[in-house]
Symmetry: C2
Subunit: 375 residues, 2 copies
Amino acid sequence: MTDKAKTERVVHVPLGERAYDILIGPGLIGRAGGEISTRISGRKAAIVTDENVGALYLEELMDGLEADGIDATSITLPAGEKTKSFEHLTKVCDTLLSARIERNDAVIALGGGVIGDLTGFAAGIVRRGVRFVQIPTSLLAQVDSSVGGKTGINTRHGKNLVGVFNQPDLVLADSDALQTLSEREFRAGYAELAKYGLIDKPDFFAWLETNWQAVFAGGPERIEAIAVSCQAKADVVVADERESGRRALLNLGHTFGHALEAATGYDSARLVHGEGVAIGMVLAHEFSARLNLASPDDAARAEAHLKSVGLPTRIGDIPGVAPTVEELMEAIGQDKKVKGGQLTFILTHGIGRAFVADDVPSSEVIRFLEEKLGQ
Amino acid sequence: MTDKAKTERVVHVPLGERAYDILIGPGLIGRAGGEISTRISGRKAAIVTDENVGALYLEELMDGLEADGIDATSITLPAGEKTKSFEHLTKVCDTLLSARIERNDAVIALGGGVIGDLTGFAAGIVRRGVRFVQIPTSLLAQVDSSVGGKTGINTRHGKNLVGVFNQPDLVLADSDALQTLSEREFRAGYAELAKYGLIDKPDFFAWLETNWQAVFAGGPERIEAIAVSCQAKADVVVADERESGRRALLNLGHTFGHALEAATGYDSARLVHGEGVAIGMVLAHEFSARLNLASPDDAARAEAHLKSVGLPTRIGDIPGVAPTVEELMEAIGQDKKVKGGQLTFILTHGIGRAFVADDVPSSEVIRFLEEKLGQ
């Protein structure tokens, strides 16, 4: 048995003619050329990456592609959430057209969620769609943004308000790439990973409570946890590709989380996405308990686990001046999960028992936030 | 029988969950509110128009929407092809988000192909897709760009190289709006109308040879010709929504036509799209004859009809300095209908017998163009 066969996991996402594989394991960046060649006919590729990830992995990826006869160009963008803008989208599209990327050529996103979202959007609109390969290099991107086909950019009105649904043709989740993440980045990704347990996998959540240290240390538990997460997300996406119903469950913690990100100006020094989701998930559990939908014990258990891995769990954990209730409500109102003025929230009946509530009165939300912020 | 029932035609485009109706007839702009209300649940709408069309029809449309209880905002853009840019796309998206257009609200394109393409793109990416209504006010837009779901903008690399497939939820082709078109604009639209005859409807082409003056004069022949054209395009689109095969036939005349537009700098004083297509269709027939695929008599017949309605049919008919073969080949190479370096052209075996040729050697194209340009 080779090392690869021992450790590599494949999650197949069965979306009809948009079906694709997620490969999870070590050494995938170096082997990308071979994996792409067997699935995509074009002999050209364009890599989009950021300054941090590019410095670490771009050369290895380019060499590997070249060795497999793929002619690759690349564009390196500034790291950070601000790169998800119309300005950089325009730049990436221009680069792809200059490189004469055709419909059967691959556009490769090498980086975290920012690069994946931006690149997937560009790949979905250049020539009305070219082939798209994701090489997510953060834990967050591996378990979340590389599965599901959501792409997009931010505007002054909020996050991800402009984009397309664009399923990748292939995802290569190289577990080696996670070795270079900071502790904080790894934890932020872990919040999304734990989310799948909180949504509808209570056994997985319990497994994480026991095994989280091994997941942080690396090795087979980490690959296992990533594979379970990708499978969990794939199951939801297959059931509801265009987000009309069940898929909304994936937004557990995200309405509050996005609002916190918006109200702190998307300043990653203060709050990154996964941290916002961690606080948001605890708020969603507490809000559910306040509405007598779940036991306060479950909220306490969710918080205890997220806290034990070092994640922030309360609005007060965010450094700097706390956002006001008005700022948070403004952001919640602009959030795209609004229907005819009513607020949609993901609430829960307990650990692993999340559900979609699309008739939450905003007055209840305001009162809850006022309580939380002591206003 | 009411006047409406006597004259209005409906073409249904049966695209499964993306199915929609095209209504063709007089007075539709004033009645838009009612038609939208029965099909779209949202009570908000945003109208995108240009300075020329807005001055003529925006007030009537806004009043009609208001009368039917739809709260509408509007944005008016400069007229002309240059509006199909990333800059204006960004602006339109910002307007839609500022107006808090939600997924079930309508974005309405009131204008010609430029407004339709830009607005359809914006409606397809804001919140990853909101409802989209087309009110095409040029003949070209009514018979071509309002059917088929292609949307997009131009870049310095060429036309329509960035966009999405986005089927409208409703098309209102108001025949009254054509009364304000200039003779030149009407003729440009007529080129696309005649195209459907040349592709695979020889009887329609013969009918046009006899009835074109009545189509130009207005009245029932005009509505009939628009309905036949919409139906013809709908048939092709239904058979091949994502343009992998048969749909390419709609590009008859477009590879040469786009190249001429690019090489003349998209200067509408020199050449508008429909005129480029007219010349391109004649070139496609002549090129087919040169390759011994069709009789030169058919090329002469196609040219004679287009010429009789006053359309340009030769590169020399374009005012100003003629483009060079190099300029045209550069544009053809960048055109999106390129596969692995090979050139794809729509050629013909005669009137109404067009076909897709995806292995045309560029050397043949160069020789043909050199001959045409006397170089």
